[in-house]
Amino acid sequence: MKTLLKFIVLIEIIVFFPPFVLANISGEQDVTVTYYHVEGNTGNSFYPENKVTYLYEGQVDFTRSFLSKELFGSMSYRVTDDRLVDLQDVSLEEFFIGLRKDSFEFLAGDFYSSFSGYSVDNALKGLRLNLGEDDLAHFKLAAGVDTSRWENLWETRCDDSDTRKYVWGFQLGNSFFDKDLKLNLNYGGSLDDKAFLSSGSPQVLVDVVSLDTAYRINDVLSSSFEFAHSFTDADKNLDEVKTKNDYAGKAVLDLNTRNYSLLSLYSRIGSNFNSTSGFTAADLETISFDGAWYAHRNVKLTHYLHLDRDNLSDHLYVTTRQINPGVILGLSLPREVNCDIGFDSRKRYSTDKYTNDETQAYSVNLGKNFQVFYGNIGYTRTVVKDKVDLAQERDVDTITLGLDGDFTIREVIFSWNIAEDINHEDYKEAGKADLFLTHSLGMRADFPSALSIEARVNLSDSDYYSNSLDNNTANYVFSISRCIKDNLTFSVNYDYKDYAYPDGDDNYSETVMTAKAAVRF
């Protein structure tokens, strides 16, 4: 913690202390005091029973000219004893500093690099170099550590749920034929940090190479492709564990005429394929079509068909397939009434017959601009069929109602909204139903004096047929904020939540009150 404090202080000195004072400094400093209070069965709550906590958050952004380039940077930090906000007393939340000019940028610190879907797509703490512009010849280099917190870089204590890995990669790209064809070669690598692995867990090394292209065929048709090959060493420390390689591919065709658009996608990601980010699915083949037909200026027909399956190498015992067709007819009716009528079907089944369910949804939504307010009402009938688990079969009726609007009285802008959700789930086998009701009401008033007052109420009632776990939840929020000066805002927030259960033993309520002062400069 001391190291971090020194670091933050050093940065602040560099930013503010002459003669190093930078040309443009902006930022925000917030101080928040929070009071938590829980009554009733306090063990059910995530909050402390009775506690006052403090939170100081700051952000400093700066830019200045340096060696005929722009030096820029940002730092966010936090000091708190509120464990619901941060596990550390002092933490550096975000930090980066860099140099840029025209098509050159060098950055050290936090950044998000996304080369392509199958290669590097990570938020890193490290170094990034960008040369050239995306639409022209360019080169990108990124390397760093993919981990949530800066503290993890020097703390010996590691939270069990944290992960950390080293990631590196580059992208080399160019465009051709007057930018109609864009071509990128991507490489990425990642290696798990052993310090964050539980004992016995393997240290995984991933190398992935991808080629992605985007080609504008003509005015109405464009396409994009990516083909990637990954090499995964499932345990870098064991020679007998062989490196598994696999590929992923994606092809997209985008038809976009005046009256009709259709996005067609085929992708296949092998079971042993890995990207550096971990956001990609594995062992999944997808075909999808998403279309929209503007049949008339007041008629729009959206339709889609999504199909996917796993077990691509046929080496799993079970293959599961999904099919999801749907259609939505959108109508712009007279008197500014919008109407959507939709159907959606989602079927899932497996070769071992242990999965065979289908969900069909029929929906109607109406929206109208009443000038003073906007209203919408929707009804959805969902039919859940399950040939394996009959207990899951149910008909669900969902009704939603929303009204929102704003009006001005003596320069005070009032905004309000009302929402009502009713969900009735009728289980066929049991012959009984669950019922969920939620009601919400919100009102906000913005005064010319930069005073804002907001009040919200959310009430929900869950009635389950199967046991006595019904609950009623009531949430009341009230907040006042006032911009005292141009750059100083003060706000107070009161948040009360009450949970009630049939037997009363588990009942509890939470009160969270916060007072916050924010300074911008």
């Binding site: 059910n44 975000e94 950044f111 990570n122 007998e240 080496h315 015992y317 099919i323 939620t438 046991n467």
Partner: protein, 564 residues
């Protein structure tokens, strides 16, 4: 309509920008250049509306505006020296601005500004925090429709994910969530972000038991046409866990491998939440530093949180070997943990020779020993050493060699202690030189105190006159008694009749298969060739003395019987 669209099309692609040099577009009071891209947030709006003002140097009668690439057109009103349209955005979206105006001559003209407006109700960080707040609220309210609207259509395996959320809402009640943002990093253009969010869930199952879960979920979030959507999860074990996390987890460890007789027994555990079927188990042994595959076995079903057993016979191995067992070697079963499917163990494949005192018996001075092989491999040339104790010391008498004893089999060997008499301690040692490797070398000898009788265990076949009877008209039967202590087998019985003073053998010898000690047997002979009348008969048992007996003098007797 078609005419308008055609005009727009032509305008977009063929008409030079200079044609519109005199047009001015003001958005919320600010002049905006063609080809601009700008972001507008709700807190910048007046009365919640975006104000579009279009002015042109031409003399025109009316103007229509489109915010969606010319698909829907709205009439603009004459105001402020131009034409005004106030649009009230209800949700985050991208607006593409184009105009269609008509001059005094009635000519329609399209004007595409190439201005793109990204309207967002909230600024990126604020919008994502609101997204997380909604995600939490809708999940707690078990509102699948609203919850799934927060996810992009590009969300990996979205159909399965939606099904898993539906399963969550069926299986879990009283859901409560808490979250803590661990990291929030935006892309350079603030159009996408990766946030690490610690999510903790408390809930009850439908049976009322509590089920908690938590994870730091990496969330990839992107602004899609003005709306922030979740485009990917990383390390998600909370949302959809009732389906997504329901996987088998097959495990095996070295303690699950054991040698039982000639076979290796393996116990495979399924610690997951899903049933595993057709679980293939592959057996290897290490030879010369490399693993050699021996064979496969399949366990048909291992239920969740249960275990199954299979056996494999490494018949070709003899000696100490490293054995490896790989469960589901082709990863044919989807598991929550694929890294715990192997185990190794060093196993000694060998005979297991044993003898116990109960395996030692004697007959007279001959001692028999039953040698067992309880091991997994045949034992060859098994030396069995015989000792007797004299003066407190074991004296070696000699040894026998059993050519082979099969696995899980036994053989008997005998040794004659001809010089011994009375009671004496006998010891038998198998493989005294330890030439045969065994898993247990400590069970190869046995001792027993044995009384060597002066009279050996022999049968005593006897017959008397009363034992010879006529059992049919011309049939004579002889009952033979075995009064000895050992059984006799293949006992020959010869029948005679008297001619004058001489005994004449009649016909061939009869044979009694065996007579146990203390038992008796009967031999019958047909004398029909003699005809009726009284005759003297003699019966001799074991006439050639082929059987050693304790008494060889009581083997014959005579009797007079009348035939016919």
């Amino acid at each position: 309509m078609i005419k308008k669209l055609l005009l727009v099309f032509l305008a977009i692609f063929f008409i030079t920008p200079s044609l519109y040099a005199q047009n001015t577009v003001r958005i919320n009071g600010e002049t905006v250049e063609e080809n601009s891209a700008l972001s507008i947030f709700k807190d910048e709006l007046t009365g919640g509306k975006i104000s579009f003002l279009f002015k042109t140097g031409e003399d025109i009668e009316g103007v229509e505006i489109s915010l969606d690439k010319g698909r829907i057109w709205r009439e603009m009103n004459a105001a402020e020296g131009g034409f005004l349209y106030q649009y009230r955005p209800l949700s985050d979206k991208d607006l593409f601005l184009s105009f269609l105006f008509k001059n005094k001559e009635g000519t329609l003209r399209a004007y595409n500004t190439f201005i793109k407006i990204a309207y967002q109700k909230k600024r990126p960080e604020e919008a994502i925090l609101a997204l997380l707040e909604k995600m939490e609220r809708f999940y707690e309210q078990e509102n699948k429709q609203r919850f799934m609207r927060l996810f992009s259509s590009k969300f990996p395996s979205r159909i399965k994910f939606e099904q898993s959320i539906q399963n969550d809402f069926y299986n879990y009640n009283n859901i409560r969530l808490d979250r803590r943002v661990e990291r929030k990093i935006f892309s350079s253009d603030s159009k996408s972000a990766i946030w690490d969010v610690y999510v903790e869930r408390k809930c009850n199952t439908r049976t009322g038991s509590s089920k908690d879960a938590s994870a730091v979920i990496g969330m990839r979030i992107a602004n899609e046409s003005g709306s922030w959507k979740i485009t990917g999860f990383n390390n998600n074990t909370v949302f959809g866990s009732s389906l997504l996390a329901a996987e088998a987890d097959l495990t095996v460890s070295s303690s699950d491998i054991s040698l039982s007789g000639p076979t290796v027994t393996v116990t495979v555990h399924n610690n997951g939440d899903a049933i595993a079927r057709n679980v293939k188990v592959t057996f290897y042994h290490k030879s010369g530093g490399t693993w050699v595959k021996d064979g496969n076995k399949t366990i048909s079903v291992i239920r969740e949180n249960s275990r199954g057993t299979t056996r494999y016979n490494f018949s070709s191995l003899c000696g100490i070997y490293d054995v490896k067992v790989v469960v589901d070697p082709a990863n044919a079963i989807s598991e929550s943990n694929e890294t715990n499917n192997e185990a190794e163990k060093s196993i000694t494949f060998s005979p297991e020779l044993t003898i116990a005192s109960s395996d030692i018996t004697n007959s007279g001075t001959t001692v028999s020993a039953v040698v067992h092989n309880n091991g997994s491999v045949i034992a060859r040339s098994v030396k069995v050493q015989f000792y007797h104790k004299s003066g407190g010391s074991w004296i070696s008498d000699g040894y026998n060699t059993i050519s082979s004893i099969g696995a899980q089999s036994q053989e008997t060997t005998s040794y004659n202690f001809s010089s011994l008499s009375g009671t004496c301690d006998i010891k038998i040692v198998i493989d005294p030189n330890n030439t045969i490797p065994e898993t247990n070398e400590d069970n190869n000898e046995a001792e027993k105190s044995i009384t060597f009788s002066s009279t050996p265990f022999l049968p005593d076949l006897a017959i008397s006159s009363s034992d010879i009877t006529k059992t049919a008209t011309y049939t004579v039967s002889a009952v033979v008694h075995n009064n000895g202590s050992a059984s006799a087998s293949s006992i020959k019985v010869k029948f005679y009749y008297k001619v004058g003073v001489n005994w004449v053998a009649h016909g061939s010898e009869e044979t009694i298969a065996s007579i146990a000690a203390g038992a008796q047997g009967t031999a019958t002979h047909d004398f029909s060739s003699l005809g009726p009348g009284a005759q003297n008969f003699k019966v001799v048992v074991d006439p050639s003395n082929a059987i050693s007996e304790t008494d060889e003098t009581n083997n014959e007797s005579t009797k007079t019987l009348t035939l016919g």
